[in-house]
Every structure is written in structure tokens, then in C-alpha cells.
């Protein structure tokens, strides 16, 4: 005798893009218990028994819920502060927020933020002076916002903080005689208030109210992140570098259990400040605490720094502007040991490698680790791999690695990469999606939100068009097609998380995770991908309107 089952809902849609080659498009999808019962014509799905036909998407397009394989929960948290980015953006509540395309505009934004509350720090984020030529923001600029309250503005990279005089004094750096590359000095011999790098920034975070607990994410930030995800059509997203200490973990477990938390979170434990053995041991313990909506038990390793910060490790001939090579953030010995232990324990590792020398090192470490600790289908992933070349992609394929490329860089910093960091030739092969696919490497593409906005369709547009902010095309030969890009932001990203059996396509048995669109990506022109309107999501069978 069969027991009573949960009700069946059948959603009708203008078109359902399934990412399942056996049944690439359909008109209906049946959902029960948060999972997909079937996808196909209504008459076929009716065979599952009594159902409710839900026609709210009859004029809309469904595709698999989008998967952001490299983002940070801080993308939600930062929105409580004034957005100071150069480009227009959308906040978690859907309000369009104008960009600040000059330092003066940024100062106006901060002054408006200051006027909304009588006292306390004034904080902005997303600023990037790289767009404003040689003009740098100074504390004299920020003193125009306030001479009595601490003022701070975090750069888009997250690695530079500008502060005003009050905040600089509170941080203990308003004095003469400082001789340090992280502290540019003004004509008066005092620091200009630009604090470059975490070490210089950290003492100033408290005075401006950007302390570390805030940076690691908190309840309201995690909720805001959920709203951003719905708005972007995202149903599964990573927090790609978390400490996952108990209080943070308890908050995540509690929020993701809520009936209306709209996104499945995949936080990776960062192997920073803990040994490889400890990292793997903790990941194994975390894995046991996973839930449907919170997937634990993966490790993030950071090999090098960033290209625009000149801290990424580049192979010969190095930086185009002659800057010295970057820094190793993790020792090769530790990477190798971490890989080997993780392979033995069945724990997945994602490795940040920005420069091509860092990618080479990760490949060598993986090669050595696999020789000692073979494991099929380990699904280790290189994150960013921005300068990887065709030969490196072939090695990734041979070693069973996946790659998640930082396609958004092409738009946001492509012009600077061509002019300053790596020069035009290598800029044209940055985030080389075509080479990755041609080599047979499973491919995802990402935003690294909040570094760039969480919006996988925009990321897909970047990988398809490879157009910079100024409009120059960077490496036409590395373009991927629209279907390939749509695959990269669904099944491709799911595969890098070892979740492709569960999410990333619309097929019987998978999670009922859909991205609901007003426009059809299949019939859209490639250059229009970024402008497709997202209605919202269905996640685990629950409907969320943006």
C-alpha cells in the first residue's frame, strides 16, 4: 500500500531550458518534496497522479537555478554601507544604486550617507581609483565628508581602505616618520590615509566600524545575500573562504534551516592559520554537519595574491610594468600536504591561483599528491586561474581538475590588465574559457562577489563577449558560446562542487531549483545576455520573487 505523499505541483512555462541533452527544452516541470518529479509535456507529467497546475510562469522561461561557484557572504553584508563603486549596481532590495564615476561623486555619496545618521562612522565600499587615472583619494578628500566622525571607504578589491584624518588618528597612523610601502605619504610627510593591504587596513577597521566580525558575515548580511541571490537567479552559492568557527556555523545552520531562506550555501573552510592536517580533520567533521541547504566539508587554499594588486605570482616575463613578482600565500609544502591528506579523506579542495606561476605550482603539487594518494573523481578545482594557458588547461584535464575562471575581470579590469599589469597579449588570454573547454576541463565562471556583483548572467555575458569597460574586445579567440556559458553557470559550476548529480540541470530526481526569467536566453543576442530580466527563483520547490 502506498502512503500519502506530498502534493505535486506542475509549473507551466513558456520554455524550460533543462541543460539535459536528452530533453533540452520542455513546457512543464513537476515538483514534489522540493525535487523534480519530471520535466516534459503536461500530459506525460500527469501520469504521476493528482497535481496542482501552477501557471504563474506561463509567460516566463525557466532554466536550472544558477550556481555561483565563487562568491562571499560579505557581498550581502557590505550593502549596509554606502555603495561607492564606479558602476551602477542593484542593492539586495532591488533598488538601482547609481555609481560614483569620480572621486567627487564618491564624496557626495558618502556625504549623503553621513546625513542619514547624526553620528558614528561613515563607511563606503566598492570604490576603485583605478578608473580615475593617477588621482588618488586622500584623507583631505574624506575630511570633506566629516572632520569629526571617522570616514572610511573600502576599495572594490577589498585590499585597500581609504580613511579620513579622524580615522587615521584613531588607527594610530597620523604621525610623521612612517616609511612603509603600505602607507603613501603626502607632501606634509604624513600618511595620505590610503592603507594598502590587510596589515595596514586592519588597525583602521575598528575606528570606521568595519571590524573583522563584520567582514566574516553576520545574520543580516547572510539574509541580504539571500535576497541578492534571488535577484540574480542564483539558487546555490559558495562562501569561498570561511573560518567556520562555531558561532558562525551555528548562525549559518539556523538561517539556512528557515522556511524562507532562498539559497543553498556552500562555505569552504579556508586553510589559513591552521595546518593542512587540521584543515582536513575539520573539513571531515564539518562534512558530517551538512544539511540540504548548507553544504560543508570543502577546503579553500590560497596560493598567491591578486594580479591588479601585483601580488599574484607570474611566470616569466612577469608584470608588464616591471613590478616585482608577487607573493606566495601558502607554502608549496603545505599545499602538497593538504592535497594529499584531502585526497585520502575524500575532501574537496579549491585553490585560488591568480597568476600562471601559481597555477603551475598547484598543478605540480596536484601531480605529486596524486602520485602518492591516487583518487578517482576528486573534483579539485582551480579558482581564478586567470592567466592559465592552453598547456596548463591540458594538465588540468590530465589531473582531473576543474576550473572556475574569473570572467568578470575582463570587463571590470580588462583595460588595466592590457595597459599595466600583464600587457595586451596576455590580457587577451586571461580567463581563457575557450582553451579550457577545448582541453576538456569542466568549466565554471564567477563574480567573486562582492569584488564584482553577483550576477551569473552578466558573468556569462563577459565570457561570451570578452568586452572591457572601455569597449575593447580582449581575445576574441577565447570567447565561448551562449550555450556553453549557460552550462558554465549551471551544471559547470555544480560540477566544480561535486553537486552536478543533484543540481545544475532540470531532470527527474534533481532539486527543484529554477532561475525564472522574463526573457529567453536561447533566443537572445549574445550581447544581450547581461540584460536578461530575472523574475526570481524557485529553490527546493519554493517560489521566491525578486
Amino acid at each position: 500500500m502506498s502512503t500519502p505523499r506530498d502534493p505535486i505541483t506542475i509549473f507551466a512555462a513558456r520554455r524550460i531550458i533543462t541543460m539535459n541533452p536528452a530533453r533540452p527544452t520542455a513546457t512543464h516541470v513537476a515538483v514534489r518534496e522540493g525535487r523534480i518529479l519530471g520535466v516534459g509535456p503536461l500530459a506525460e507529467l500527469a501520469g504521476w497522479g493528482p497535481h496542482t497546475l501552477d501557471e504563474r510562469f506561463a509567460d516566463r522561461v525557466l532554466m536550472p537555478g544558477l550556481v555561483e561557484g565563487h562568491s562571499h557572504l560579505m557581498a550581502g553584508t557590505l550593502w549596509r554601507h554606502a555603495y561607492c563603486g564606479c558602476f551602477d549596481a542593484t542593492d539586495p532590495d532591488g533598488r538601482r544604486v547609481a555609481g560614483s564615476p569620480s572621486i567627487d561623486a564618491m564624496l557626495s555619496t558618502l556625504s549623503e550617507a553621513a546625513a542619514t545618521q547624526p553620528d558614528g562612522p561613515v563607511v563606503g565600499w566598492g570604490f576603485d581609483s583605478i578608473y580615475f587615472g593617477s588621482r588618488r583619494c586622500t584623507r583631505a578628500d574624506l575630511d570633506r565628508v566629516s572632520t569629526t566622525r571617522p570616514v572610511g571607504v573600502l576599495h572594490a578589491s577589498g585590499h585597500i581602505l581609504n580613511v579620513n584624518t579622524v580615522a587615521l588618528q584613531a588607527a594610530g597612523f597620523l604621525r610623521a616618520g612612517i616609511d612603509h610601502p603600505a602607507f603613501p605619504l603626502g607632501a606634509d610627510g604624513l600618511p595620505t590615509g590610503e592603507l594598502k593591504g590587510p596589515e595596514a587596513m586592519l588597525p583602521a577597521l575598528d575606528p570606521v566600524g568595519l571590524n573583522r566580525s563584520f567582514l566574516s558575515g553576520d545574520e543580516s548580511g547572510i539574509r541580504a545575500f539571500g535576497r541578492l541571490a534571488v535577484r540574480a537567479g542564483v539558487t546555490t552559492a559558495t562562501d569561498l573562504a570561511a573560518t567556520l568557527l562555531d558561532p558562525e556555523l551555528d548562525t549559518l545552520l539556523r538561517l539556512t534551516r528557515e522556511a524562507d531562506y532562498p539559497v543553498r550555501l556552500v562555505p569552504l573552510l579556508r586553510m589559513i592559520g591552521i595546518s593542512p592536517a587540521q584543515a582536513v580533520e575539520r573539513a571531515v567533521a564539518l562534512r558530517a554537519r551538512s544539511t540540504d541547504q548548507l553544504r560543508l566539508g570543502r577546503i579553500k587554499v590560497v596560493a598567491d595574491g591578486s594580479i591588479q594588486g601585483f601580488s599574484a605570482r607570474l611566470r616569466w616575463p612577469g608584470y608588464h610594468n616591471g613590478a616585482p613578482n608577487g607573493l606566495w600565500y601558502t607554502a608549496p609544502e603545505a599545499m602538497r600536504e593538504g592535497y594529499e591528506r584531502a585526497l585520502a579523506a575524500g575532501i574537496q579542495v579549491h585553490t585560488h591561483t591568480n597568476g600562471d606561476e601559481a597555477t603551475a605550482l598547484a598543478l605540480d603539487c596536484m601531480d605529486a599528491a596524486l602520485a602518492r594518494q591516487p583518487r578517482a573523481d576528486h573534483r579539485f578545482t582551480l579558482q581564478h586561474a586567470q592567466l592559465a594557458d592552453a598547456a596548463q588547461f591540458r594538465r588540468m584535464r590530465a589531473l582531473g581538475l576543474s576550473v572556475n575562471l574569473f570572467a568578470n575581470h575582463l570587463y571590470y579590469w580588462g583595460d588595466q590588465h592590457a595597459a599595466i599589469t600583464v600587457g595586451p597579449e596576455r590580457a587577451a588570454r586571461m580567463n581563457a574559457g575557450r582553451s579550457a573547454l577545448d582541453a576538456g576541463v569542466p568549466l565554471a565562471i564567477h563574480s567573486d562577489a562582492p569584488i564584482t556583483p553577483l550576477a551569473p548572467l552578466f558573468t556569462a555575458w563577459c565570457a561570451v563577449n570578452r568586452v572591457s569597460a572601455s569597449g575593447q574586445v580582449l581575445g576574441e579567440a577565447e570567447r565561448i558560446t551562449v550555450p556553453e556559458a549557460l552550462h558554465a553557470i549551471t551544471l559547470g559550476a555544480a560540477a566544480t562542487l561535486h553537486l552536478d548529480g543533484e543540481i545544475g540541470s532540470i531532470a527527474c530526481g534533481k532539486r527543484a531549483d529554477f532561475c525564472v526569467l522574463d526573457d529567453d536566453p536561447v533566443s537572445a543576442a549574445p550581447e544581450a545576455l547581461k540584460d536578461l530580466r530575472v523574475w526570481g527563483t524557485v529553490q527546493g520547490g519554493r517560489v521566491f520573487q525578486a
Binding site: G273, L327, W328, A331, P332, A334
Partner: protein, 317 residues
């Protein structure tokens, strides 16, 4: 004696950087320095507790982010927040006598030294870099990390070529030729007197002298004053002598820091030709001169420490 008399908070806290690649013996060195501390309150700062190799018997407790160690010493991890951690350590009560700052294995000690200049409450008292002798040639030539390792060696005021028992004579000779012109001490298990790392007369008075703590330092060698572990016994010597009248400071510094002087550490309280009283600190080939603290009592004097057998020439006579 005059211990702690001249410890106003204004006096900067001395800090020794301990650098070197993973596995070079940094923590081994810290362990044996802690065992020799003999009443000195050392604050040990490590990048992270992840691979903390401190001997378990040295750890007596934990309070918050701080590990309490035997003899009033403490250990903190700084992670990304070096400056904040250093600031907290400088205002700890009771105040540490000295800081040992162990850098991460991939860090450039020169960059960390630059960061110390941001903190007026701290004075860097030398950078000691360890190298794993049997692995060093390969590490220096490594395509990925060779530049980082070479930068670490170049940042050293004193280079401890450690684990030399793992090399035969020919390999050791070849390795010596490959090293930069840095004052080098060859060690096994990073064993050496604490005075080589921290400086002479440290914590026992504000001027100089070995650790007799009196104003009656003699010209006689005082090897018994060095708190060397057994493995280093007899390998290091120290001398101290009075300095009579104004000194030619430049000439004295030149003698102490000359390539063949054999001086690893020197500390002097002296008067220059213009009658100014100065405190001289030498570590390896780097010398620092500063006005002598008002509390630095006693006659002008100089103490040096070096390797037994290489202590010839002007500084030693």
C-alpha cells in the same frame, strides 16, 4: 640590582624577528630560547597556532588568544593582524622583557621588519633567519620559491645555518660558498646561547655587561655567563671590557661589523668624541646607535659574543 628600574613604558620593547622557510627550525629555536629564558619574560608571536610546535611542557595554560608559558612567558598568534597583535602585546601587564616574532615560512622578514617601523613602542633588535642546511641548495634553486628563500637569507642580520649535521664536509663547504655575505652561525637543532639571539646583558641591566649584573665587569672572558644548551656548550664565547674615554665610534663600529671580526652580537655603552653617551647594538653586520638611556649607569663598556675559534682581532682584545 637595577633590574626593572629603568622600565618606563616609553622605552621601546626590543623585538627579534625569527624568519626562515618551513622546516628550517624556527620553532625549535624558540623552544630552546624559552628553556634558557631564566626569568626573562619573553612574548612569542607566531603567525598561527596551526603548526604550533612549542614543547608541551612549556605551555602552562591559555587565556583567550594567549598561551601562557613557563616562567611568565606568553605566546600569541597574529594571523593577518600583526600590527594590532603587537600593540596589544606592548601594553600587556606584566610587560614582556622582549618579543620573539616568528614569521610565517613564506614571509619576507624584510617586509615584517618594515611593519615593525610602524610601531614606535617596538624596536627591532635584529633579524635571525634560519636555513635548513641539507635542503637549502635545492630551495635556493627552486623555480617557485627560490626567490622567496633568497630574499629571506638576504634579510638576515644573523643567519643560522641549521641541521649542519645532515651534510658532509664537502657539501657544507659548497653550501657556505653559496650564501650571501651575512654573518652565519652553523647549528644543530638550532642550539645556541640565548644571548646570541636577544643580545648581551639583556634584561639584567640597561647598559651592558654579560649577566653579572654588577658594575664590576672585568676584562676576563665570561663563557659561563652564556646560557647555552648542551649541544652548543663551548662553541660560543663572550668578552667584556671597559672603554676608557671618548671613542672613535666609526672605527669601533667598523671593527665590530667587519667581515672577519667573528662578532655575532655586541652591546656597548660608550662616549663619543663629542661627549655624547651612546648605546651601541650590533647584530651580525648591522649596528644601531642610540642615545644611552638615562638609567644606563656604570662605566663605559663593551661586550661581545662570537663563535669560539673565530674571536680574533680588535674587538676581542
Amino acid at each position: 640590582m637595577i633590574k626593572n628600574v629603568a622600565a618606563p613604558l616609553a622605552a621601546p620593547l626590543p623585538c627579534v624577528l625569527i624568519g626562515g622557510w618551513l622546516g628550517a627550525g624556527k620553532t625549535t629555536l624558540v623552544n630552546q630560547l624559552l628553556r634558557q629564558a631564566g626569568g626573562l619574560r619573553l612574548a612569542v608571536l607566531v603567525n598561527d597556532f596551526g603548526d604550533l610546535g612549542l614543547d608541551a611542557d612549556l605551555i602552562t595554560g591559555a587565556s583567550g588568544e594567549v598561551l601562557e608559558l613557563a616562567g611568565g612567558c606568553v605566546c600569541c598568534s597574529y594571523g593577518a593582524d600583526l600590527i594590532g597583535t603587537l600593540r596589544r602585546v606592548t601594553v600587556r601587564e606584566p610587560r614582556p622583557d622582549a618579543l620573539l616574532l616568528e614569521t610565517s615560512g613564506v614571509a619576507d622578514p624584510a617586509a615584517v621588519a618594515r611593519s615593525l617601523t610602524l610601531l614606535p613602542a617596538i624596536r627591532r633588535n635584529g633579524t635571525v633567519v634560519l636555513a635548513d642546511a641539507p635542503r637549502l641548495a635545492a630551495l635556493q634553486a627552486d623555480a617557485y620559491v627560490g626567490d622567496t628563500v633568497r630574499a629571506q637569507l638576504a634579510a638576515a642580520d644573523l643567519l643560522l645555518l641549521n641541521k649542519v649535521d645532515g651534510l658532509d664536509a664537502a657539501a657544507l663547504a659548497a653550501l657556505r660558498r653559496s650564501l650571501p655575505a651575512v654573518r652565519t652561525v652553523e647549528t644543530v637543532q638550532a642550539a645556541l646561547p640565548i644571548e646570541v639571539v636577544l643580545g648581551l646583558g639583556f634584561g639584567t641591566d640597561t647598559g651592558t655587561g654579560t649577566d653579572t649584573g654588577t658594575d664590576t665587569d672585568t676584562d676576563t672572558p665570561a663563557p659561563q655567563a652564556l646560557r647555552a644548551p648542551a649541544a652548543a656548550a663551548g662553541r660560543f664565547v663572550s668578552r667584556s671590557r671597559h672603554l676608557d674615554g671618548p671613542q672613535d665610534v666609526a672605527a669601533l663600529v667598523g671593527q665590530l661589523t667587519a667581515a672577519g671580526s667573528g662578532v655575532l652580537r655586541a652591546k656597548g655603552l660608550l662616549t663619543d668624541a663629542d661627549g655624547r653617551r651612546l648605546l651601541l647594538q650590533v647584530v651580525g653586520r648591522r649596528a644601531q646607535l642610540a642615545p644611552a638611556p638615562a638609567a644606563a649607569l656604570g662605566p663605559d663598556r663593551l661586550a661581545v659574543i662570537g663563535l669560539a675559534g673565530s674571536c680574533n682581532g680588535p674587538p676581542w682584545t
